[in-house]
């Protein structure tokens, strides 16, 4: 149900995994690579993940979501490697008998994915520079 992949994400097959006669609602979140970040023009991204810990923690988040929102299904896939503008970086699919639970669960899963998974993003800008996102403010003095 949780997957890290260096291959492009295929939304159709991920969506099909949520099919279930018990489910009356499916919600999907797709996170895409956009061409700007904090006023800088982004050319592409590179995602790096710590596989063993990210997969374990990812499964844990999905189990929590199923229990918390009484879901029929929860799945999430996160890309690794180089991504161009417009590509799908992360996809969350959840299903439940009613829509309210699926909207809430979808948000819960993506928020926890961002907060808890050991995944890092390096942005490459049109001016030739690059930066690890989230590390700008916490650099020590020696650099």
């Amino acid at each position: 149900m949780f997957l890290l992949t260096p291959e492009p994400i295929d939304p159709t097959s991920l969506r099909e995994a949520a099919d279930n006669p018990h489910a009356g609602a499916v919600s999907i979140f797709e996170g895409l690579v956009r061409n700007h970040h904090q006023g800088r023009k982004v050319l592409r991204l590179e995602y790096e993940a710590h596989g063993p810990v990210a997969e374990k923690e990812g499964r844990c988040i999905l189990r929590e979501a199923i229990e918390k929102f009484d879901l029929d299904y929860a799945g999430a896939t996160h890309r690794t490697g180089t991504l161009e503008i417009g590509e799908c970086a992360v996809m969350v699919v959840v299903s439940a008998p009613h829509r309210r639970e699926t909207f809430d669960a979808c948000r819960f899963v993506i928020d926890e994915v961002k907060r808890r998974l050991p995944i890092w993003k390096k942005e490459f800008y049109t001016d030739g520079s690059s930066e690890w996102v989230g590390c700008e403010g916490c650099r020590g003095k020696q650099h």
Partner: protein, 276 residues
């Protein structure tokens, strides 16, 4: 026989990261960092003093020497010590050196060369002289005064200008300092349990991998906790993040910085997460 030096323990100021005066922190039950520092110095010197700031009006049980000038750090302490006793050498240490041992101090005193301006250790991290566990001979006083009047406030820079005998640390981590609660816990555990040599596998992720220049490496450590290991790696691999922004996993499980290390542990260092 060489005349014993006098000892000067720099009490230091308030520590923002510890949330209080480091000298008051307890290193082991009933013994503050200040008491321990004075006890160690007392064992190898003729007489030892606590160096305190000019505006420190607390009552101390031990003899004190007050800084004659403000905001000059360790150099002000040494200046005041020479003004108090110009004819003796001064062994200067700081109270935030929880790993300092009597044998390291004895080694320094034994190696002392009175024909130099100073006898000191070489930093294990960057190979530069360590100013805060050093014997300053009376001949260094004139240079100290000159550097201070030139506006120099960095004790390390001052020490670099002296004719000195530099020796290697007999115990590698003896001068590692203590800026955070995790460092103090490391010191407490190492004093109570001892420090044995362990081999661990360190994995670096994201920006830390770029800093270290490798995905992973075998690393020999005597640190008791993973916080102690972080401090070693941060200095020797010039890692660019502060401990607050880093998370750690041991054998693929998230752990706290106070987690003790075991032989062959895999330690993974995580920069701030940025998925999604």
């Amino acid at each position: 026989m060489k005349k014993k030096p006098y000892g000067l323990l720099l009490a230091g100021g308030k520590s923002t990261r510890m949330g209080r005066d480091k000298a008051d922190l307890m290193i082991v039950e009933g013994l503050s960092m200040r008491d321990r520092g004075l006890e160690l110095l007392g064992a190898v010197t003729e007489k030892s003093y606590l160096a305190i700031a000019g505006d420190d009006h607390r009552n101390y049980d031990d003899p004190t020497i007050q800084d004659l000038r403000e905001n000059a750090g360790p150099m002000a302490g040494l200046e005041s010590a020479f003004s108090h006793s110009p004819e003796t050498a001064w062994l200067v240490t700081a109270c935030d050196l929880p790993f300092l041992t009597l044998s390291t101090l004895e080694y320094l005193v034994e190696a002392r060369d009175t024909t130099c301006d100073a006898t000191c250790f070489t930093s294990r991290f960057d190979g530069k002289p360590e100013p805060l566990c050093t014997i300053y001979e009376p001949s260094s006083r004139a240079i100290l005064e000159r550097e201070l009047s030139d506006g120099v406030r960095c004790a390390r820079r001052f020490l670099s200008t002296l004719a000195r005998k530099e020796i290697k640390l007999p115990e590698l981590s003896a001068l590692d300092n203590c800026n955070r609660p995790e460092d103090l816990e490391e010191a407490r555990l190492s004093l109570s349990h001892g420090r044995s040599l362990k081999s661990v596998l360190v994995e670096y992720c994201g920006v830390l991998r770029e800093d270290a220049g490798c995905h992973s490496e075998e690393f020999q450590t005597r640190s008791v906790t993973v916080a102690g290991l972080w401090e070693e790696l941060r200095m020797s691999r010039r890692l660019s993040l502060e401990i607050d922004s880093v998370k750690v996993a041991i054998n693929d499980e998230f752990r706290s910085w106070n987690q003790p290390l075991a032989e062959e542990d895999k330690v993974t260092l995580f920069p701030p997460f940025a998925g999604g």
